[in-house]
């Protein structure tokens, strides 16, 4: 991890860091490299990836139209909403 990669990651994840936090996080990545090195000691060339820990099949059910929540209810937790819309800053100048 270096400052340029960290800058790209913070931009991608819509975060901003102080200089002290940047140094702290770069040090964290360096520590995790040690763990990754330990993983690389294990030969996994012929090992299948394990995405689900249990043998879970895709659950298929009938499509049934329903309206569990009203628009008003869904907008009740919005930081800013009105007249049925979520209110945000102007996007197009």
């Amino acid at each position: 991890m270096n400052h340029e990669t960290l800058r790209r990651l913070t931009l991608l994840n819509q975060l901003s860091l102080t200089d002290a936090q940047k140094e702290d996080i770069i040090a964290f990545f360096a520590r995790q490299e040690q763990g990754l090195a330990a993983l690389n000691v294990v030969d996994t060339e012929s090992v299948e990836r394990m995405v689900h820990v249990m043998p879970i099949l895709t659950v298929v059910r009938e499509d049934v139209a329903a309206q569990p929540f009203t628009r008003e209810a869904l907008q009740s937790g919005a930081p800013d909403a009105g007249e049925g819309y979520w209110r945000v800053p102007r996007v197009v100048e």
Binding site: L15, S16, G35, L36, I56, R61, G77, P79
Partner: protein, 400 residues
């Protein structure tokens, strides 16, 4: 100790508290994060519905650390529970005070198990998929599990049986037949052979090591063979889980943008600043670090060598457990390297939970059931909860 809401009016015997990772209609859910401060869900988690149906009252909510990835709750946005410099876990304090029969919470990175071990309580992290995660705040969906903490194994089991079962609303929920296996009933085979894992990444201190020794000695006194086994490949679980947990967390918390719900900054002039400043002001440093670590693992440069590698290591660890369970009925491990965490521990290393999880990650990454009793973890093969509870009850009867 912080309870957002305490509305119980009945006796503690019928009161269950849930932690702040569980959605409740009647009480706010913040997941320990400023991002969700004051957020109120439109629906109850499935386990809340089941607890109500079984006659329990939800007595309140226990604070958790931000998105439950820390040690025992110290990163909660409104402050850690601390007494005399010692970090306290809200759920454990509620149970010790006798305010509730049990606390149901989400075990993401081992905090429930560590808290139970350090406070002399019993906890169960059931087999992945046996308790619905519908209505839990999603963090690391492939391994996080709804767990129960209580004073006794009987209370733990009683609550687990009330909330376990298939749920169509959770795509990872196992069949009713599978879920039924974790419930009591019929004769429970007493374990004959147990392995004690040694050589973990962190060496437990004298007190934690003594807990493990005492538990092993108690089992031997009851005719159960106890054999020390080197951790071997299980030592890779922490690094692999840190990758998978962070990658899943990165995706799951991407929904918090200050628009649809949650915190919105007042400091913005355009939409990009709204997104960035909302997330920057609301998220703590540990969470930001996990987001960035997960994002890096999922990047095109690192996907195969980091994320894909961790998925393969997950199978290696599952195979290692399968080999252990071919020889032994259960596996004993410490739950934590020390029986008390202090503020100084976290000040010295804010990322301590990413190392301390060397004990909890093996079961998190494989979805295996764990019962904590006597300060140690007992890990069994899938659906072995009745046998693990039997060992906990043995400890209660003879080990205390």
């Amino acid at each position: 100790m912080k309870l957002y809401t305490s509305k119980a009016e009945t006796a503690a015997a019928s009161v269950v508290v849930v932690d702040d990772m569980i959605l409740t209609k009647e009480m706010p859910t913040a997941a320990g994060s400023k991002m969700l401060e004051g957020y109120r869900s439109l629906f109850d988690a499935e386990m809340i519905t089941r607890l109500h149906a079984a006659g329990y009252e939800i007595g309140g909510k226990a604070a958790v650390g931000e998105f439950a990835i820390d040690l025992v709750g110290e990163t909660a946005y409104d402050g850690a529970c601390v007494a005399d410099g010692i970090l306290r876990n809200a759920a454990a304090e509620i149970i010790k005070a006798g305010e509730a029969k049990a606390v149901v919470g989400l075990d993401v990175n081992g905090s429930v198990r560590r808290a139970a071990a350090q406070n002399g309580l019993i906890s169960v992290k059931p087999t992945y998929g046996t308790v619905s995660r519908y209505g839990t705040v999603p963090v690391a969906c492939s391994g996080e599990t709804v767990s129960v903490m209580a004073k006794t194994a009987a209370d733990c089991r009683e609550i687990l049986e009330a909330i376990a079962g298939h749920d169509d609303k959770d795509g990872t929920s196992l069949s009713e037949e599978c879920c039924a296996q974790i419930k009591s009933g019929g004769s429970i085979a007493k374990p004959a052979k147990v392995a004690v894992i040694t050589g973990c990444n962190l060496t437990p201190d004298a007190e934690a090591a003594a807990k493990l020794s005492a538990f092993g000695a108690m089992l031997e006194q009851n005719g159960i063979s106890v054999t020390a086994v080197d951790a071997g490949v299980l030592t890779t679980a922490s690094a692999a889980w840190n990758i998978l947990m962070s990658a899943e967390l990165c995706n799951n918390v991407s929904r918090y943008d200050g628009i649809k719900y949650g915190y919105r900054t007042e400091n913005f002039e355009n939409i990009d600043e709204l997104y960035t400043n909302s997330r920057t002001e609301a998220f703590g440093v540990l969470l930001k670090t996990a987001i960035l670590y997960g994002s890096d693992a999922l990047s095109s440069e690192n996907y195969m060598k980091v994320y894909d590698k961790a998925l393969r290591i997950r199978r290696v660890i599952a195979d290692a457990f399968a080999a252990l369970f071919a020889q032994y009925d259960a596996v004993l491990m410490p739950a934590c390297s020390k029986m008390v965490y202090t503020e100084a521990d976290v000040q010295a290393d804010r990322y301590i939970s990413f190392a301390e999880n060397c004990y909890t990650a093996p079961a998190s990454i494989t979805g295996l059931p764990v019962v904590v009793a006597g300060g140690v973890q007992m890990i069994g093969k899938a659906f072995a909860e009745p046998m693990l509870f039997a060992m906990a009850e043995l400890y209660e009867k003879e080990g205390k």
